[in-house]
Structures are given as C-alpha cells and as structure tokens.
C-alpha cells in the first residue's frame, strides 16, 4: 500500500524554502508510490504565494491561513497540525531551528515514531523504514530502522537531498484553516515577543575572498595569532567555527555556519575544524576548500578538495613562512 506523506513547508516573506523541494525527493526515496501533501501555515498574500509555488510541484497543498500565524510559533503550529494530520501517516520536517522546535513534540502528539536528522533512506520492509543518520558530528554513519506502523515524524537534514523542482504536479490548494482553527487558536504556555536580528559587527566575512578559518583544534586563545598571520600573508580574513565564539575568543560575526554567517569565498582553509554539518551549512558558492586536521577520519575531509593530516599549530606557521618567502 502506498504511503501518504505530509511535508511541512518553510517559507520566509512569501518565498518557499529550498527544503520544500528536497522533501519531495526524500519522499520519493522513502516510497516512490507515495502521495505527497504539502502543508503550509502563515497568513495572507505571502502564504498564497508560497502555496502557489508549492502546488506546482506537490500533488496537493494544504494551507492554514491566519493573521495569528504571520510569525510561525512551533508551539502553536504543532497543535494545529495535530488537528488536521491523520494518525498513522508520515510527516517530513526540515532538521533546522524551526523543525527542531516543532518535530519531536509533534511525534508524541500523533503517537508516531520519531526519526531525527535523516540524510538518506533505504527501502521499507515489514513496516520498517530503513534510514541513514550520522553520529559524532559525521564521524560515523548509522543505518537505523524505524517502525512506521503507527506513522512517523521524520526530520530531514537540509541539503542532503537534491531539490526536485523539475517535477510538475499542479496540485490543488486545499484550505484547511477552519478545520485547523476549530476551537480557536490553541492556548499555549509560550508567547512570541519579538525577533532580534544579529548585530552587525566590524568585519564582514561574507565579502571575503580568502578565509582562514579556525576551529577547536586551535586549542588556545593565544594561538589565534598564527591564524591572523596566515590570513595577512594570504590577503584574507580570519573566520571560525562555533566553539571559538562560544569561548569568546573571536567575535560572533566571524562564525561560519548555520547559526553564523553564510560565506562564499574563493578559498576556504578549514584548520582544526571537524566539519559538522551546521558548520558546512555556512559554506556556499563552491569554494576551493583545504582542510588541515590531525584526525584522518575527520568528516571535513569529505567536504574538502584538498586535505592535509597535520598538527595545525606546527603547520600554520610553516605555511605562513613559506608564503612570505615566495612573496619576497
């Protein structure tokens, strides 16, 4: 029996998120015969625009339209979804900050299994869906089996499936607002107050052509000097992974990644960075990536063009010296 799969759609200012198309591919890998319904919540013209974009590629689009949803609050949306999504089906949600807020609780409320951060799927056999996940920041993959006989809520890692925009479906848009709003906007113990944009700092790494990026491997605040020296001879800027900002060794504006900046340099040196997907999410525009790491198994070597197994505390100064020599 073909599955029914629901895909929760993210959008911003009337523009549908890429993950909406990645979910179509993911659903196709889970079950090629599945029927797929997009579910979008929001308000007004923005939501209409999103639903129109979704309907081109989804067989059906459900919309929940309310002024109260103009900013999406996962605590509210979870309860609305429970009112309209039947138990026993599959729900796909992107594994990013909104999905991480929404999805686990949704699985509990739908009495469904919860499968988090899938990067690929095998087949279905015996009511079990085989999926691929990653552990230890990508150092190992796992093959897991998820019992989907009571349905499942599954989060999908953004970027792990190719967006399927080619497929034309022209599905109908079904207004589910009254069903979802029956009994009114659900009362929740969490109220959205405001959105605060990240502070703009002095340095803008999004414009840098060459980035010398350091991670936890730099070990000590004092060692940052060698990265600045290298950046200087290369005519680039210093950026970093999250732990360096958490430790307050560098400013937040230098952080590359999902909760930091999206950069698009020509050359990116990843020095003592393991290569977590949240870090790599900030690396766009297909730069030439050089990874230097002392652990030959570090996942960054999957993402880099060129790799060197070395201790960065020795390697960085030597590289700086050699470049200096050539330039002289």
């Amino acid at each position: 029996m073909a599955l029914h799969i629901y895909s929760y759609i993210l959008h911003n200012k009337g523009v549908i998120d890429d993950t909406a198309f990645e979910a179509i591919s993911a659903a196709g890998v889970i079950d090629p015969d599945a029927s797929i319904t997009a579910v979008a919540a929001g308000s007004g013209l923005d939501l209409d625009a999103v639903c129109n974009q979704a309907s081109k590629h989804y067989q059906e689009v459900w919309k929940i339209d309310s002024e109260a949803l103009s900013y999406p609050d996962a605590e509210v949306i979870r309860r609305l979804l429970v009112r309209i999504i039947p138990k026993g089906d599959i729900v796909l949600i992107p594994h990013e900050h909104f999905g991480m807020d929404l999805a686990p609780g949704l699985s509990v409320m739908l009495d469904a299994a919860y499968l988090s951060d899938a990067v690929d799927f095998g087949g279905i056999g015996d009511g079990r869906l085989s999926a691929i996940r990653q552990e230890f920041n990508g150092q190992v993959n796992t093959q897991v089996e998820c019992d989907i006989s009571n349905g499942a809520v599954i989060t999908i890692r953004p970027g792990s499936f190719k967006g399927d925009e080619g497929q034309c479906a022209n599905g109908p848009i079904v207004d589910k607002t009254s069903e979802a709003m029956e009994g009114g906007i659900p009362a929740v113990g969490r109220r959205f107050l405001k959105f605060v944009e990240a502070e703009v700092g002095e340095i803008d790494i999004t414009q840098s052509e060459v980035l010398v990026s350091v991670g936890r491997g730099i070990a000590d605040e004092d060692n940052l000097e060698i990265a600045f020296d290298l950046a200087k001879v290369m005519g680039g800027d210093v950026s970093c992974s999250r732990p360096i900002v958490d430790a307050k060794w560098l400013e937040k504006e230098r952080q590359v990644g999902n909760s930091g900046k999206t950069v698009k340099p020509k050359v990116y040196l990843a020095l003592g960075i393991s290569g977590a997907f949240q870090h790599l999410a900030g690396l766009k525009g297909n730069p030439f990536v050089v990874a230097v790491n002392k652990n030959p198994k570090a996942p960054i070597f999957q993402a880099a063009d060129v790799g060197v197994i070395a201790d960065i505390l020795d390697f960085i100064p030597e590289l700086t010296d050699k470049i200096n020599e050539i330039k002289r």
Binding site: F136, R190, R191, V196, G236, P243, S274
Partner: protein
C-alpha cells in the same frame, strides 16, 4: 526554583577517533575517553547560575550504566546539589522516546519548575527535550541561549535561529528548554568540589522505582533501532597531500596560487 538538568556521558570526539567494531556492527567503545556532553555542561552551569540568583536546587540526572556516576559527580563538583543515576538492564537499547519516557517518570517523582537538556548529544538527534516536554504536557523551547527569570511562574528566553538571529519568548513554568552552547561560560570544576562530590550519595532508580513497565522501554519498546554503523563513503573525499611537510606545503602553495589564495 527547583531545576532538573538531563545530562549524558558521551565519547569525547576531540580525544578519540571513533572506530568501527566489525564483530558487533557497533563502534569500539572500550578505549574511548568519555566526558559530559558539551551542551549539557552549559545547561548545568545555567541552572547553577539561576539557583545562585533565585535560590532553589539543581538536580542532575542521567540514564546510563554505572559509568554515568562519574559525570553526575563532575557536575555536582561544579555545584549541582543532587545527582540521580537512572539505571536498569531493561533500559538498555532505549530509543529517544524510551529515554524521554524514563526521564518523564523521574521528573514526575518530585516537583520541578524547570527542566533543562542540551540541544543535542553525540548522536545528534536533538530530540529528548522536545519529546519530554510533549510527554509532560509542558511548554518547550529549543536552542535557548538566554534565560531570564521573571517571577515564580514566568521566564523570558532567547532562541537562536539561523544566521545568529534571535527569537524572544515568554514561557510559563514549568517548562522544558534545550540549552545551546555559548549561553554562559561554564566554570572550572574546583578540586574542593570534587572531594565533596565524591562523598555524596547518588541514588539509583530502576524500573520499579519509576513505575515503568519493562516492555515500554529499552530495546523492547524502541521504534527506532540502530542496525549498523559504517564509515561514510569516501566518494568525493579530498585529495590528500602527502610527503614531507616541505613537499606538502609546496604542493599546497601551487594549488592556492591557481585558486587565487596566494597572489
């Protein structure tokens, strides 16, 4: 404020190369160096800071085997008041829902105002906090990087979203929050604290203490099971530069020149 912090012992990936054990379809765990999950250490620090300002207590809880005792004592040495080790053969092989339902039973044994978890642990699932909140029927916020106590019934929190932007919410207590790294600067564990924590009693709870039926947890109750571990395919792996450091650096500089990294 009575605060409950969920903590997990994880292999320290900075110290270890994770290796596969071909015999068991698992990873080799015997030689690994373990430490507390990075996110959980921030959660415990945050709980201690809240207690220091507003009074109350901090209880750290882990579902583990006897080795879990060590991380509990570490966090008690940092300043947590109590530790609870939740351990039972029947808990082995639990999936996220299993762990969350065990933790729910522990939370409900006593009265708590606030439950903290880390955003994610070693398997990167980022699920326990959200599952636990829904099971308790409490409000939830994930990826929290600021907590302000407004009064006995309400807090204000910041959630970190893409690009380092923030969402600000007011949340009713009791609630569950998953704590993001960088929310504070976790203190070092004082030697005196270590000695004090070594002498404290850490109660152990099992299925009977928690009123859980063994079939509902562990391998038996799991809907998600890990079948196999494998190394990611080396498909588009980087070209590794080899040779002496000099040779490597020469090759690298040639490549950087052609790509515009050295002008």
């Amino acid at each position: 404020m009575e605060i409950f912090v969920c903590v997990k012992r994880v292999p320290d990936t900075g110290e270890n190369e994770i290796e596969l054990d071909s015999g068991s379809n698992g990873i080799k765990r015997d030689d690994l160096v373990y430490s507390i999950n990075e996110w959980d250490n921030y959660a415990v620090e945050e709980a201690i800071q809240i207690r220091e300002k507003h009074g109350g207590s901090v209880t750290v809880v882990t579902v583990d085997n006897e080795e879990g005792d060590e991380v509990l004592r570490r966090e008690m040495a940092m300043g947590a008041d109590r530790g609870v080790l939740v351990m039972d053969k029947a808990f082995e092989g639990s999936d996220g829902r299993g762990i969350a339902s065990i933790l729910k039973a522990v939370v409900e044994k006593e009265h708590y105002d606030l439950v903290l978890t880390g955003v994610q642990a070693d398997d990167g699932a980022a699920q326990i906090g959200g599952l636990l909140a829904a099971m308790l029927g409490w409000p939830y916020a994930s990826i929290v990087n600021e907590i302000e106590i407004l009064d006995e019934k309400k807090i204000r929190i910041h959630r970190e979203v893409a690009g380092g932007n923030l969402e600000v919410y007011e949340v009713d207590l009791p609630c569950v929050l998953s704590v993001q790294t960088g929310i504070n600067e976790p203190r070092y564990v004082p030697i005196r604290g270590v000695m004090k924590a070594a002498g404290l009693d850490v109660p152990v709870y099992g299925t009977a203490d928690l009123g859980l039926s063994p079939e509902s947890v562990g391998e038996a109750g799991a809907t998600v099971k890990v079948k196999n571990y494998f190394v990611p395919e080396a498909g588009d792996r980087a070209e590794m530069l080899e040779g002496s450091t000099e040779e490597i650096i020469d090759k690298l500089i040639d490549l950087l020149k052609s790509k515009g990294g050295v002008r």
